[in-house]
């Protein structure tokens, strides 16, 4: 997925997320513009796709994955192999109850953090939003530290399989 598609996807998810908070307003769009333009990703491209993406998501209810994949094919022709890094802050969108500002952090084209600054009825809060699960190598996964594990989650084991399970081992630990 291209950087622009990722941004669009992120903005789409934010659009869905804030839809409830923006009840009463006509649109739930958040336009993204890079504050640290460290790459060739264009400002207009990012904001353009994100605006279209989030409005499409909120108005028609289509899934963001479908929307962003179509954006992916659109943007593929112009900047196919951009690997963006940096932090991008969207324009602050105001609505009846307050405002929302979204910040996306990219590392080599991968969304590593999506943050929303929300001001609602005078209260301010900042939230991290996990935009998506991204493909990675096993070495990039957090490894387990068996000594500190309290319990074990795995595909459902039967009563007979329990005795051979790691959970059984933990249950027998004194």
């Amino acid at each position: 997925m291209s950087t622009k598609a990722k941004l669009a996807s992120a903005a789409a998810s934010v659009g869905v997320l804030f839809l409830g908070w923006q009840a009463g307003t006509a649109h739930g769009q958040t336009a993204l513009t890079p504050t640290t333009p460290t790459t060739t990703t264009t400002t207009s491209g990012a904001s353009g796709t994100s605006g279209g993406s989030s409005s499409g998501t909120s108005s028609s209810g289509t899934s963001s994955s479908g929307t962003s994949s179509s954006n992916s094919s659109t943007s593929g022709g112009t900047s196919a192999s951009t690997s963006a890094s940096g932090t991008y802050t969207g324009t602050t969108e105001t609505h009846r109850y307050g405002s929302v500002t979204v910040t996306v952090t990219l590392s080599n084209g991968t969304i590593t953090n999506l943050n929303a600054d929300v001001v609602s009825d005078g209260e301010h809060r900042s939230e991290s939003i996990n935009a998506e699960a991204v493909p990675m190598l096993e070495s990039e996964i957090k490894s387990a530290n068996s000594a500190g594990v309290s319990t074990v989650s795995g595909a459902t084991y039967t009563t007979t399989a329990y005795l051979e399970s790691l959970q059984s081992a933990l249950d027998q630990a004194k």
């Binding site: 996807s9 789409a12 998810s13 869905v16 997320l17 899934s63 963001s64 994955s65 590593t112 953090n113 991290s128 939003i129 996990n130 935009a131 998506e132 699960a133 991204v134 493909p135 990675m136 190598l137 096993e138 070495s139 990039e140 996964i141 957090k142 490894s143 387990a144 530290n145 068996s146 000594a147 500190g148 594990v149 309290s150 319990t151 074990v152 989650s153 795995g154 595909a155 459902t156 084991y157 039967t158 009563t159 399989a161 329990y162 005795l163 051979e164 399970s165 790691l166 959970q167 059984s168 081992a169 933990l170 249950d171 027998q172 630990a173 004194k174």
Partner: protein
């Protein structure tokens, strides 16, 4: 199989976790019993009160009486073999059926209460409801710091005795004697003196896989990208249903889940070693 017998405990060296023969737990012994064809383990700070134990069993048993397809006289069996219509079913049955239908809609059909042969099978959601009911029993008995594990699906609440977070190990789909990753649950906020100033935090971790209970997941969209999916959510029904849905629906459903349910953490595994992870599962 006696559904209420306690599991005999026969420790052996091979039972120890890899890399650590003696996990450092300073908790009271877990309360362990069989329910819904699997084993439930409850470990609580200060121990599971004796008064709560029969109610914990009942939390699962009540649901199993009505919804087990392994009990020919159960209401679920009668609906499945069509001697009882949905219209004739009890309010309790229809409440769970409606919940499953709502989840089918919310997951674009990736989760479904219908078997390929058309029969209604609510077991995919009933176990999670049992876990939820058991957690409510602990709440009612004033137990706030605990780990509840039913056949690999987990609810954690509060923190360990020393204030450290509960850590949930995730089984390696390629080698069930090993852990692939782990999830550290958020701990309640405390003041300078260590006294909790927020309500106990609660998180649910559910894992669905194709290797065990083969019929548990139906590959409706014929997507077989994932062989194991772990989902962390605020409640066990959401975690369990979405783990099943993502396993059945593949990357498309995964994207819809992380977009549609803010705060979700997911670790998805493909048979060829590829992994998909949200931040909590990244190194």
């Amino acid at each position: 199989m006696n559904a209420t017998s306690e599991i005999s405990r026969t420790p052996s060296p091979s039972d120890a976790l890899p890399h650590d023969p003696a996990p450092a737990l300073t908790l009271a012994e877990p309360f362990i019993f069989e329910a819904m064809g699997t084993v439930v383990s409850v470990r609580a700070v200060g121990g599971v009160p004796a008064a709560a134990r029969p109610h914990l069993r009942d939390a699962f048993e009540t649901l199993e009486d009505r919804f087990s397809l392994y009990r020919p006289a159960s209401e679920a069996s009668q609906v499945a073999n069509r001697t009882l219509t949905l219209r004739q079913a009890s309010d309790e049955y229809r409440r769970v059926y409606d919940l499953a239908i709502d989840w089918r809609a919310a997951t674009s059909g990736a989760f479904t209460p219908h078997r390929p042969d058309g029969a209604v099978d609510l077991s995919g959601i009933v176990k999670a409801l049992g876990i939820q009911a058991a957690a409510a029993v602990l709440d009612a008995h004033g137990v706030h710091d605990y780990v509840l594990n039913a056949g690999g699906d987990v609810v954690v609440s509060g923190a360990q005795p020393d204030g450290r977070p509960w850590v949930v190990g995730i089984v390696d789909p390629d080698d069930r004697t090993r852990l692939l990753s782990q999830y550290s649950a958020p701990v309640p906020v405390s003041d300078a003196g260590g006294e909790p100033t927020s309500a106990p935090t609660r998180r649910a971790v559910a894992t669905s896989g194709v290797a065990e209970r083969g019929d548990h997941v139906w590959h409706l969209g014929s997507d077989d990208t994932f062989c194991q999916v772990t989902v962390v959510a605020d409640d066990i029904v959401t975690a369990d249903v979405l783990a099943t849905a993502v396993l059945a629906g593949g990357p498309g459903t995964l994207a819809e889940a992380t977009t549609g349910w803010p705060g979700l953490e997911v670790l998805a595994c493909a048979p060829d070693g590829r992994r998909w992870a949200t931040p909590a599962f990244r190194a």
